[in-house]
């Protein structure tokens, strides 16, 4: 009772008022500290954080949002002034929020209370910023958290470009790449491998070694299986060429190279498939041509043998007999017949040279062409001697300067001279 009476006294009331005022001041001060603390805390975040309150039109539809708060991170990320933004209408401040879907997401979040994640792109001058955004309803507004993912996007884009380039390179080189996880038994194939096997799209399941083997030609399948299994045991490089039958029924030759590498208690094989059909076809054409060439060479060699023995041998005999005749009858023959005999001797000698040179020219085995020094003056003298009779019969006059002496490959002295020596 005494206390109640005391409470009614003016002095006591004044005392209470003073005490309340102090508590209020303290409370305000606490709140200010707490606000500062919260702001500092929000500013220290790596994300842009903004609080928006809806702005309704006459029909109570959300026309825009008012920017009630945005932390200083926006200054660092996009060089925007937070003080300028706060209090402004969101769409008026930046209409990109309509184009990139941010407004629709904020509206939906406020209306339904649903938390929404999305990715939005903003362009500030020459700066392109990608945000990973999350919008959450909070009391009378929404909070938007924006994480700058521009670098990730840039890397993603680079990766995309590199993958495209790789694909182009694979296309140009008719190759595809693969990665084989030995523990799981599955293979990751590049798009081009599927193309190589006659598919437009990758499989919707992870292929295994057996599913790849199903494309291998029946003739090669066991051989390929054995080679690959052996290499798996020894972890040795694979490099084999085999036939495949594609999904479209085409038969192709494929070369595959794979290298083993260990990683986290597992082994992987990375490698390439290369379509070598054209090379193999060209090779077999080349082989057929080579076989033809070999046959033609052996025909030529057979001709050589015939020519060298069967043609030269009788000629040698003729020369031998003439030589004996000449030895025996020299001095006994009249000058006319001796002249005939001399001509027979020189003609047979010339014929022997012709055959020998023709043979050495057509001999495929020893094509080694040995140029020799030839004096063209000597050759001219020989030719004039051979043609002496015809020259005098026809009254031909032959003039010549001094001819050169050089290295030549010759078929026959005095008749044909080929290829000046370089």
């Amino acid at each position: 009772m005494a206390q109640e009476a005391q409470a009614d006294t003016p002095r006591f009331k004044f005392h209470i008022r003073c005490r309340d005022r102090i508590a209020l001041r303290n409370r305000i001060s606490e709140l200010e500290i707490s606000k500062m603390f919260s702001e500092k805390l929000l500013d220290s975040s790596n994300n842009v954080i903004a609080y928006l309150e809806p702005f309704f039109d006459d029909h109570n539809n959300i026309e825009d949002f008012i920017i009630k708060y945005v932390n200083n991170r926006i200054q660092e990320v996009a060089s925007l002034d937070t003080q300028e933004m706060i209090g402004m209408r969101w769409l008026e401040y930046d209409s990109q929020n309509i184009e990139n879907g941010a407004f629709e997401n904020a509206k939906r979040c406020f209306t339904t209370g649903e938390t929404i994640n999305y990715v939005a792109k903003y362009i500030f001058g020459e700066l392109v910023i990608w945000f990973s955004a999350r919008v959450v309803k909070l009391e009378d507004g929404v909070v938007i958290f924006l994480k700058d993912i521009s670098k990730e996007k840039q890397y993603e884009r680079q990766l995309e470009i590199q993958n495209k380039l790789l694909l182009e390179a694979e296309n140009v080189a008719s190759t595809g790449s693969f990665r084989w996880d030995l523990k799981k038994g599955t293979l990751t194939l590049s798009e081009n491998v599927y193309k190589l096997l006659g598919y437009d799209q990758p499989f919707d399941f992870e292929p295994t070694f057996e599913s790849i083997l199903s494309f291998v030609h029946d003739r090669d399948i066991e051989w390929v299986r054995k080679i690959v299994n052996d290499s798996k045991n020894k972890k040795e490089r694979i490099d084999i060429t085999f036939k495949v039958v594609t999904n479209l029924g085409e038969v192709k030759y494929v070369n595959t190279i794979g290298e083993y590498y260990p990683s986290e208690n597992n082994w992987y094989v990375v490698g390439v498939f290369k379509d070598v059909t054209k090379q193999i076809e060209q090779e077999s054409i080349l082989q057929a041509k080579n076989a033809e060439l070999q046959k033609s060479n052996s025909d030529l060699e057979a001709f050589n043998r015939i020519a060298s023995h069967d043609l030269q041998e009788p000629l040698r005999k003729i020369q031998m007999f003439i030589s004996r005749l000449n030895d025996e009858e020299k001095g006994k023959l009249g000058s006319r017949f001796q002249n005939y005999l001399d001509k027979v001797i020189s003609s047979t000698e010339r014929m022997r040279n012709l055959i020998a040179n023709l043979l050495s020219y057509s001999r495929i085995e020893d094509v080694e062409d040995k140029p020799a020094k030839i004096d063209l003056n000597e050759i001219l003298t020989d030719v004039l001697e051979d043609l002496g009779e015809r020259v005098s019969e026809t009254n031909a006059k032959i003039k010549s300067d001094k001819l050169p002496r050089n290295k030549w490959s010759s078929i026959s002295n005095g008749t044909i001279v080929l290829q000046p020596h370089r």
């Binding site: 060298s308 023995h309 030269q312 005999k317 031998m320 030895d327 020893d366």
Partner: protein
């Protein structure tokens, strides 16, 4: 003076005649035996083991047994392997020449196309001191191509 015993193995009758005539022109102190294939040569040598020729001229292209085979058989036989052998052939193929040397020939003579050249070649071969050269063949693998 003991006559030098020469054996000519050649299926070509004309060549044998040229050879015989040229040999007479070169050296009268020789005794020539002629045969026409490798098989008859081997048979002859085995019969004449006590009276072997001093020098054999061997053609390559012959029926029944050719010169390559005959040469190989002679070099395989311990009683005949020391015999000096001159190949006497029309072939000028390097392959044939190398092959005969590998099989143990001592000299290679390409059949000439003049009687004079034949006499010169024979003179050169016959006048060689064979005992001396055979020693050289063994020591230095001395080979001669005429």
């Amino acid at each position: 003076m003991t006559k030098m015993k020469i054996l000519l193995v050649d299926d070509d009758e004309d060549d044998r005649e040229f050879f015989a005539d040229a040999l007479v022109g070169v050296d009268l102190n020789t005794q020539l035996q002629q045969l026409d294939n490798g098989k008859s040569c081997l048979d002859y040598l085995l019969q004449q083991i006590e009276n072997l020729p001093n020098l054999i001229f061997l053609d390559l292209n012959m029926p029944i047994m050719n010169g390559f085979e005959c040469l190989a058989e002679i070099r395989k036989n311990p009683l005949l392997k020391e015999l000096p052998i001159a190949i006497y052939s029309t072939s000028s193929s390097d392959k044939d020449i190398e092959q005969t040397f590998l099989n143990g020939a001592n000299i290679y003579i390409k059949k000439p196309s003049s009687f004079e050249d034949l006499k010169k070649s024979l003179k050169q071969v016959i006048k060689m001191n064979w005992a001396y050269h055979m020693d050289d063949f063994k020591k230095e693998n001395f080979l001669l191509r005429i």
